[in-house]
């Protein structure tokens, strides 16, 4: 027995420790953020309250040096900054979080403005409603536009969305000119505003009063930020980041990527529409002149400048993009050039933006340390400057009864142990004229470790891909627990109970180890977007359980000490184990491991064999693709051998070892090739 699961990796681990300590507090402001989270709650609230007071007082304080140059009213400038911040906040959901490039955001803004104008301006023949009602109405209408635009485009590669939205922004502007009912350049006067008059009987929300509108917008921003934070720290936010990081891997981990992309696009559109309605109210006049594509690119520059994916960064970027031309009127004429160049320069030299911190993706992050200590007896490496040289936990040490209980899911499997859990019947996959898999049939029995071996190009990974929905087979069927998986979307196959790891590791690099596992857990969660938005009880329960189960899974594969480290900073062996933990998190009936030992040294391979056996003993069924004969022979119960897409043998390891066809086709003279 090995004392540490990664004994062989100890040397490499020492080298990578410096990077490994870079936890979720990475980025320029990581230390500050870490310090902040150490403060007690009341101190945090106090600081936030102070900040809020300053924020609201900004237009009245009118600080020297900061104030805008003569000719630009400071209070109106404050409103404009807030307006841009709100827009950037919405666009950030689409571009920053979900990684979808929306170049026509001004189109949504325009739709929102026209909704407010059509239903409040006396120039419109429509029925009139109070201004404040147009805010939700604008959001509903823009979401409709967003979904109509998103459904055909979001199924395709992300680039198409960019060009379609670019066209959309331009079309909305043209339609405003071409459609008579929208009144072109004449436009709509006297758009409504929130009610209320001051002591002198003047309207509080008139279009030369910046301050009330600023307060109004800042309040909206705060509410939007709170709601977005709820989404971020839920399966919705995690799904978005996972899609941004690796869409295919996200889908295979059970994330319905299309649905969450539509959500991101729709939410972005809603915030765009909302800001449009606010803008229409403040200006009091809407025509076709203010919605050009250039403005869309300014919005994009705001998001990229501040820090794509970070809502506070987006707010900062939005405020800056509005502020700079107002503060320095000398450069105002060049603002498009400046911000266009900023896009290029940021992408090349600082893609994470000015505020490069990443967002928290777990709702109960404060409880991670305590939960880890309770379950595994070790605190995860949360300390930014802590030296993480503590020996990693061995499987045996870590897997206490409680951890094992939490890891083993209470899933219902129809099949009895030893019966056929999955049946691959007559499966063929062809690419053009090439037959990669040729009428292959075999069964996987519940509770066994089945090895799938064969020389390079034999069709092993193709078989995996057909089983998990990546490729559509040209003939044949795959059933799991009596249900056919063919023709289902990849994420629904995962939910049916097939999970897999990848030959070349595909973790979500910008997420911590724990967050990666929680993405897998989300496959079994039932919280919807609305539940997450308003923190429904089920959502809170699922989030609490996520941390507990996620840490237990990490403990189970022996890497709980790095729960808080970004996946891309984990040592290689840890990444492989994390992939297994993430796959286990989806509660699979069948776990498919694609060359899990690739790149391991013999000692690490022994530990991996140990882990695979432990997983099986915990009640999982395993399909294992592996090149290393020693490992395959040592760990599997039965083996299926493929060659040139055909099955040439099936049986117990001892039978396979002595099968003349296998020896001739695959093993050659050398029965044990030792390395992958």
């Amino acid at each position: 027995m090995m004392s540490t699961p990664l004994g062989g990796a100890a040397a490499t681990q020492a080298i990578t420790d410096t990077q490994a300590t870079e936890s979720r507090y990475s980025g320029r402001f990581g230390h500050l953020r870490h310090r902040w989270e150490q403060f007690p709650r009341w101190q945090q609230w106090f600081v936030l309250a102070l900040f809020a007071v300053l924020l609201y007082a900004l237009p009245i304080l009118n600080p020297p040096f900061i104030t805008t140059e003569p000719g630009n009213d400071w209070q109106l400038a404050c409103f404009d900054m807030a307006r841009f911040a709100l827009i950037a906040l919405g666009l950030n959901v689409v571009v920053g979080q979900a990684g979808l490039l929306d170049l026509g955001y001004v189109g949504f803004f325009a739709v929102g403005s026209y909704v407010a104008a059509l239903w409040t301006s006396p120039d419109s023949t429509y029925i009139h409603i109070p201004y404040l009602w147009t805010l939700p109405l604008a959001m509903v209408v823009t979401v409709f536009f967003g979904v109509v635009l998103g459904i055909p485009t979001l199924r395709l590669r992300g680039d198409y969305l960019a060009i379609v939205t670019l066209g959309f922004g331009e079309i909305i502007r043209l339609l405003a000119t071409l459609i008579p009912a929208l009144k072109g350049q004449v436009g709509f006067q006297n758009v409504g505003a929130p009610p209320g008059t001051d002591a002198a009987g003047r309207e509080i929300f008139n279009n030369s009063a910046g301050t009330p509108w600023y307060w109004f917008t800042v309040t909206i921003i705060i509410i939007v930020i709170m709601l977005l934070t709820n989404l971020e720290r839920s399966r919705v936010g995690r799904a978005w980041i996972a899609i941004r990081e690796d869409e295919d891997a996200a889908e295979i981990m059970g994330v319905p990527t299309f649905r969450f992309k539509i959500w991101a696009f729709g939410i972005g559109a809603a915030i765009g529409g909302l800001s449009g309605a606010v803008f229409a109210g403040q200006v009091g006049f809407v025509n076709n002149q203010k919605f050009d594509v250039q403005t869309s690119i300014l919005f994009l520059a705001a998001v990229v400048l501040g820090g794509s994916g970070n809502k506070y960064g987006a707010v900062l970027g939005g405020a800056l993009v509005s502020y700079i031309p107002l503060r320095f009127t000398a450069v105002a004429d060049y603002k498009y050039l400046i911000f266009g160049a900023a896009l290029v320069v940021m992408m090349i030299f600082r893609p994470q933006g000015l505020l490069g911190t990443r967002s928290q993706l777990l709702a109960n992050a404060r409880t991670i340390g305590a939960t880890a200590r309770r379950l595994i007896g070790a605190a995860p490496a949360v300390e930014v400057d802590a030296d993480a040289t503590a020996a990693p936990l061995s499987v045996e040490e870590a897997v206490t009864e409680e951890v094992a209980d939490i890891v083993a899911p209470d899933r219902t499997v129809e099949t009895a142990v030893g019966e056929n859990l999955a049946e691959i019947k007559d499966l063929s996959v062809t690419f053009g004229g090439l037959t990669a898999l040729d009428h292959v049939s075999f069964d996987i029995r519940r509770g066994e470790i089945l090895g799938l071996i064969g020389p390079n190009g034999a069709g092993k990974t193709t078989c995996f891909n057909a089983m998990t929905g990546v490729y559509a087979p040209s003939s044949g069927d795959v059933t799991l627990d009596g249900t056919s998986v063919i023709g289902r979307a990849q994420h629904s196959i995962t939910r049916l109970g097939i999970a897999r790891t990848f030959q070349n590791i595909r973790l979500f690099g910008e997420m911590t180890a724990l967050e990666n596992v929680v993405v897998g857990l989300d496959a079994r969660h039932r919280t919807g977007t609305w539940g997450a938005l308003f923190r429904a009880p089920r959502h809170r329960r699922e989030e609490r359980e996520s941390i507990e189960r996620g840490l237990a899974l990490l403990g189970f594969v022996g890497i709980a000490d790095r729960a808080e480290v970004l996946a891309r900073n984990l040592p290689y062996g840890y990444q492989r184990r994390l992939e297994i933990a993430r796959a286990l998190a989806t509660e699979p009936k069948l776990l498919c491991l694609d060359e899990p030992a690739a790149g391991f040294n013999p000692a690490e391979k022994d530990e991996l064999m140990e882990l695979i056996r432990t997983i099986r003993d915990d009640g999982y069924t395993i399909l294992l693709i592996e090149h290393d004969m020693r490992l395959v022979m040592g760990v599997t119960d039965r083996i299926v051998v493929l060659e040139f897409g055909k099955k040439i043998a099936e049986g117990a390891p001892a039978e396979i070892r002595n099968d003349p066809a296998v020896i001739a086709a695959y093993l050659g003279e050398e029965a044990d090739d030792g390395s992958a």
């Binding site: 571009v95 990684g99 490039l101 170049l103 023949t125 029925i127 635009l149 459904i151 055909p152 485009t153 199924r155 395709l156 992300g158 680039d159 198409y160 960019a162 060009i163 379609v164 670019l166 066209g167 959309f168 331009e170 079309i171 043209l174 339609l175 000119t177 071409l178 459609i179 008579p180 009912a181 941004r244 594509v293 250039q294 690119i297 994009l300 520059a301 990229v304 004429d333 060049y334 498009y336 050039l337 911000f339 266009g340 160049a341 900023a342 896009l343 290029v344 992408m347 090349i348 893609p351």
Partner: protein
């Protein structure tokens, strides 16, 4: 609430279809549509080639095109062309146009080359995510646009009339003039040339290899960087040619954002025919030219062309995202 009478009026306020106008102008709309289609197709090739090789929508290609258009205007103005038809001999005019075309090709190709060097190459070397490429592309498009804006101001360049179109054929009572014939024939000849270049030459083989699998192509001794630069330059040269025809067709259409809408249309043409497909770009260009022209007459305003093109783009993506001809660059057989 609206009563039926006002509801009817309200509907009429949104969109009106003028079928009689379309029937009356069908053939002239067709010939003109094909002329515009030829220009779209030449620009579309630039998108298609770069997309085929790099899987990148080169948003700044529209600016590569407009730089060429400026080169045409400057060259011809320098040679004495102006807002009224020139009085030179036919040979003189042809010579001037060829010169203008060469300068435009050079200007566009150089712009495309710089674009690749300054913006895309650093990202490629950092193996940046796709989103970074797209954002950089739109950023560069913006930078070039506003550099031109600062230099030339917000107004279009003075018109440059190249020659007075002469009627050549009379088809169904509609005149086809020399201008339309020159543009369509020259564009088709260039497209055939590029098609053969891709199919038959060593460079074409390299482009196809990189399109199919950049890493394997590199291992097989293909110089990937050179192929990428060559692709950008070919796209630039074609955009330069398109610029000449564009100025020929719309003499006063050269202004700083003039490439933008044409760019979206050309991209739509590329998607319509099948992005990454050279023949698809030609087919898509012609089809889009026709659809846009019919739509504009049916709906009664020239600006509807843009709206119609965009709706076509969304419909194609919905119904047949791989485009009409569907194949991509990597699957072309020699």
């Amino acid at each position: 609430m609206l009563d039926p009478q006002t509801a009817f009026v309200a509907a009429d306020e949104w969109i009106r279809l003028d079928w009689a106008a379309l029937a009356g102008n069908f053939w002239s709309a067709t010939f003109d549509g094909l002329t515009f289609g030829a220009i779209y197709a030449l620009v579309a090739l630039g998108y298609t080639l770069v997309y085929g090789v790099l899987n990148l929508i080169n948003f700044a290609h529209s600016e590569v095109f407009i730089v060429g258009a400026y080169a045409v205007v400057f060259t011809l103005t320098g040679l004495g062309f102006g807002p009224s038809p020139p009085t030179f001999s036919v040979v003189g005019i042809i010579g001037a146009l060829v010169l203008a075309c060469l300068f435009a090709m050079l200007a566009s190709a150089v712009t495309a080359f710089i674009l690749e060097r300054v913006a895309y190459r650093p990202l490629r070397h950092r193996s940046a995510p796709r989103l970074a490429f797209l954002i950089t592309a739109i950023g560069m498009s913006f930078v070039i646009q506003y550099l031109i804006f600062i230099w030339r101001g917000p107004n279009p360049e003075p018109a440059v009339i190249m020659f007075q179109p002469i009627p050549i054929f009379d088809v169904f009572g509609t005149i086809i003039d020399s201008q339309q014939i020159i543009i369509v024939v020259a564009a088709v000849v260039m497209m055939v040339f590029v098609d053969q270049l891709i199919r038959r030459t060593k460079l074409g083989r390299g482009i196809r290899a990189v399109a199919q699998d950049p890493d394997t192509a590199t291992l097989m001794g293909v110089n990937k960087e050179r192929i990428i630069v060559a692709t950008f330059i070919i796209g630039g040269v074609l955009a330069g040619a398109a610029a000449l025809f564009y100025v020929m067709k719309i003499p006063s259409g050269v202004l700083y954002y003039g490439g933008f809408v044409l760019g979206i249309k050309a991209f739509t043409a590329a998607v319509l025919g099948g992005i990454g497909n050279v023949r698809g770009a030609l087919l898509g260009g012609f089809l889009l030219g026709l659809i846009g022209n019919y739509g504009q007459i049916l709906l009664g305003n020239a600006q509807w062309t843009d709206v119609v093109s965009f709706v076509v783009l969304v419909l194609v993506l919905m119904i047949r995202p791989e485009g009409i001809l569907g194949t991509n660059l990597s699957k072309v057989r020699a």
